[in-house]
Amino acid sequence: MSAVLAQGLANGIMLGSLYGLIAVGLALIFGVLGIPQFALGAHAMLGAYVVYVFTVSLGVNYWLALVAAAAALALLGLLVHALVFRPMSTGPGINMFIAAFGVLLMLQSIAILVFGTRYYRVPSPIEGSLSIFNIFVTPQRLMVIVVALLLIAGLHLFIMRTRTGAFIRAVADNPRGAAVVGIDVRKVGLTTMAIGSALAGIAGGLIAPIGQVYPAMGDLLIIKAFIVVVLAGMGSIYGAILAGYALGLAESLGGMYVSLAYQDAMAFVLLLAVLLVRPQGLFGRRANEGLT
C-alpha cells in the first residue's frame, strides 16, 4: 500500500470517527423522539468552548474539561428538551424542525455575545505528531478515534444491557405502547436528549485542539452528521456509525483519487447515489421497526 493511500485511510478514519460521534447522537434523538436536532452542531461548539474555558482560563486538566463539557451539554440538552421540544411535541412535525434551527441560532448568538467572534485555540494535551509506518498522525487525532470508539461501544452496552436502555428501545419502537406498560416516556425523552447532547459536547471538546474554537465551528460538522444520518437511514444509530466511516473515507480518498477541487462535494454525491438506490438509507428502518 502506498504511503499516500495509507495516510488517506488514516485521515478518513479520523474524520469518520468524528462524524459518527455526532451522527449517533442525531440518530438516537431522531429515532427515539422524532426530533431532527440540528442544534447538535451548536452543542459541539459549546462543548469546545467549555473545554477552552476549563483548560485555558482555569488551567484544568484536558480530560476533566472533557467530562465537564459532557456534563454541561447534557444539562443543556435537558433544558432544551424541557423548555423547547417537549412543549411543541403535540404540534405538527415541522415545528420541531423550525425549533431546532431556532435553538441553533440562539446558541450561536449566545456564544457570540459571551466570547465574541474571534477564534480561540485549545492546546492538545499531547503535542507533536507521530509517524507510524509512514503515516503521520497527531496524538489528539488518535484520541479522537479511540474515544469515539469507546463512547460508541459504551452507548451500545447502555442501550442493550441496561434497564434505561431497554426503556429507550421500547419508546423508540412504540411510544404509546411504552407508556401503556408504565414507562415514563417523558423521562426517556430527557435521557435521550441528554445523551445526544453530551456526545456532541464531547465531539466538540475532542475537535477543539485539532481546529479552532469559534461560534460557527459546528455548522459544517452538523451538515456532515446530517448527511451521515440520512445515508444510514433516519434513526439507525448503528448505521450512523458505519455511514460516518463511509463518509470520512469517501471524502478523504475521493479527494485524493477523484478530484481535490470537489472533495467537499463527495458527501453529497454519495448521499444522492444512496438515496437513488435505497431511499430509506443504507440501514433505514421501515415504519415502527424501532432502533436499528
Binding site: 465551528m217 481535490l260 467537499d264
Partner: protein, 397 residues
C-alpha cells in the same frame, strides 16, 4: 428584524445577533453643535455578524465605527452640520442574505450608499443597484475581476482587482525568489471555496505558468472546516516548494499547523487578507519562517498606520485586520465625496465626486489611488515575509 440605535462616541460595544440585524449608530453632535439643525445621512453596511465570517465582518464594522466617531466631530455638507448614521444588516457572509440586506437597507433605512466587505455581497447588489426608483451606490471589497466587467455606473471597488494586480505581484514574487535564492519552483494551491478564492487562484496560476513555473496541485477547502489532512496529503505528496493560501489568518494558520503535522517542510504564501504580524500571534515563528504575504501598504510602519492601529486597539481591545482599514477608508472617502458633491443623497453625484476626492483621503491607510470609470482603484501590492520571527518588507522589484 431587530433595530437598535447607539450613540457612536459612547458605543464601542458589539451588539450581535445571528438573526438579520440592523443597527444604527448615530454620531454625537451634542451641545457643541449649538443651535445648528442637523441633517442626517444613513450609510448602509452589509456585513457578516454571525456565522463563519463574523470575525471578519466585525473587523470591517469596527473600522466603520471608528471612522464615524472621527467624522461626526467635524462633518458638514454644503455648510450644514450633518449627522452620520450607519445602518448595519447581518448578511451571514451569504450572497442571498446580502441581496436581502441591500434591499432592506435601501428601502427601509433609506440608505443611498451600501458598503460591504466582499465579493459575495458585491455581486448580488450590482444586479439591482441601478434601478431608477431605488438606485444606490455600492462600495464593495471584491477582488473578483468580473464585478467591473458589468459597466455599473454606481460601483466602486474597494479591494484590488486581481486581474490587474497579479502580473505585477508575480513579477515581484519572482524577483524575491531570485534575490533571496528561495528556490520556489513547484507551487501547490489551497483555494478557499469563494468567488474571490477562485479568482485569485486562477489569476495566480495563469501568471505563474506564463513564466514557465509549475503548479503541482490545487485543492479547494471550506474556511470553516476543521480538518484539512484530506486536501494536504495529496498536495504534499507532490513535494511543492510553496503552498498558497487564500483566506484570512485564522483558517490559514490551521492549514499551516496541519501541514507541519504532516511533515511538510516547504513554505507558505497568503494573499492580502492576512499579515505576518497577525500570523506570528497564531503560530510559532519556526512554523512560518520564510512565509510570504501579498501585502498592502498596511503592513508598513508609517505613522498614520501606527496611529490607526493604536486607536483601533484602544476602542475595541483587539488588533485591526486589513478589512478594518477598508471599512474606515470607505466611510472617510464617502464623506469627502459628499462634501465635494454637496449632496448626501444623490448617489450619482457622490460617485462622480469620488475620483477627485481620492487624493484628499487622509490617512490613506491602503495607498488607494486612481479610481477609473469601471470602478477599479489602484491598490499597490508588495511582498512581505517572516524571517526569524520578524515581518519584513521585500523592497526589490
Amino acid at each position: 428584524m431587530r433595530k437598535h440605535h447607539e450613540r457612536m462616541v459612547k458605543g464601542t460595544s458589539r451588539r450581535l445577533s445571528s438573526l438579520v440585524l440592523v443597527g444604527v449608530f448615530s454620531g454625537a453632535l451634542g451641545a457643541a453643535s449649538g443651535a445648528l439643525s442637523a441633517d442626517s445621512v444613513t450609510i448602509g453596511v452589509s456585513a457578516p455578524q454571525s456565522g463563519g465570517g463574523a470575525d471578519y465582518g466585525t473587523a470591517f464594522i469596527n473600522g466603520i465605527r471608528l471612522a464615524v466617531k472621527d467624522l461626526n466631530e467635524q462633518l458638514s455638507v454644503g455648510g450644514k452640520k450633518v449627522e452620520l448614521k450607519v445602518a448595519i444588516c447581518d448578511d451571514e457572509f451569504k450572497s442571498d442574505k446580502a441581496a436581502n440586506c441591500a434591499r432592506r437597507l435601501v428601502s427601509q433605512d433609506g440608505a443611498k450608499i451600501v458598503v460591504n466587505p466582499g465579493t459575495y455581497a458585491t455581486v448580488p447588489s450590482l444586479s439591482f443597484n441601478q434601478d431608477k426608483r431605488s438606485e444606490f451606490l455600492v462600495l464593495g471589497a471584491s477582488g473578483d475581476p468580473a464585478v467591473t466587467n458589468q459597466n455599473n455606473k454606481l460601483f466602486v471597488r474597494t479591494w484590488a482587482n486581481v486581474t490587474r494586480t497579479m502580473p505585477g505581484f508575480v513579477d515581484t514574487l519572482l524577483a524575491y525568489n531570485k534575490s533571496t535564492s528561495a528556490g520556489i519552483e513547484k507551487v501547490a494551491l489551497m483555494e478557499v471555496n469563494s468567488d474571490f478564492g477562485a479568482a485569485w487562484i486562477s489569476n495566480f496560476k495563469k501568471e505563474w505558468e506564463r513564466h514557465g513555473k509549475k503548479i503541482v496541485g490545487r485543492a479547494v477547502y471550506d474556511q470553516n472546516g476543521t480538518d484539512f489532512y484530506a486536501q494536504l496529503t495529496p498536495l504534499i505528496a507532490q513535494k511543492p516548494d510553496l503552498i498558497v493560501l487564500t483566506t484570512i489568518c485564522e483558517p490559514s494558520s490551521l492549514v499551516i499547523k496541519q501541514a507541519r503535522e504532516l511533515r511538510y517542510a516547504g513554505t507558505f504564501m497568503n494573499h492580502g487578507g492576512c499579515t505576518g504580524n497577525q500570523m506570528l500571534k497564531l503560530l510559532p515563528p519556526k512554523d512560518i519562517d520564510g512565509m510570504l504575504f501579498e501585502s498592502a501598504p498596511w503592513t508598513r510602519d508609517a505613522p498614520e498606520i501606527t496611529d490607526f492601529r493604536t486607536r483601533y486597539r484602544a476602542a475595541f481591545r483587539i488588533d485591526p485586520q486589513i478589512i478594518s482599514a477598508v471599512g474606515y477608508l470607505d466611510i472617510i472617502w464617502l464623506v469627502r465625496a459628499m462634501e465635494a458633491a454637496k449632496s448626501t443623497s444623490n448617489a450619482s453625484a457622490i460617485r462622480a465626486a469620488m475620483p477627485g476626492t481620492l487624493g484628499k483621503l487622509r490617512p490613506n491607510l491602503l495607498g488607494w489611488g486612481n479610481l477609473d470609470a469601471s470602478g477599479d482603484i489602484e491598490w499597490p501590492m508588495h511582498i512581505s515575509y517572516v524571517k526569524n520571527g520578524v515581518t519584513q518588507n521585500f523592497t526589490g522589484k
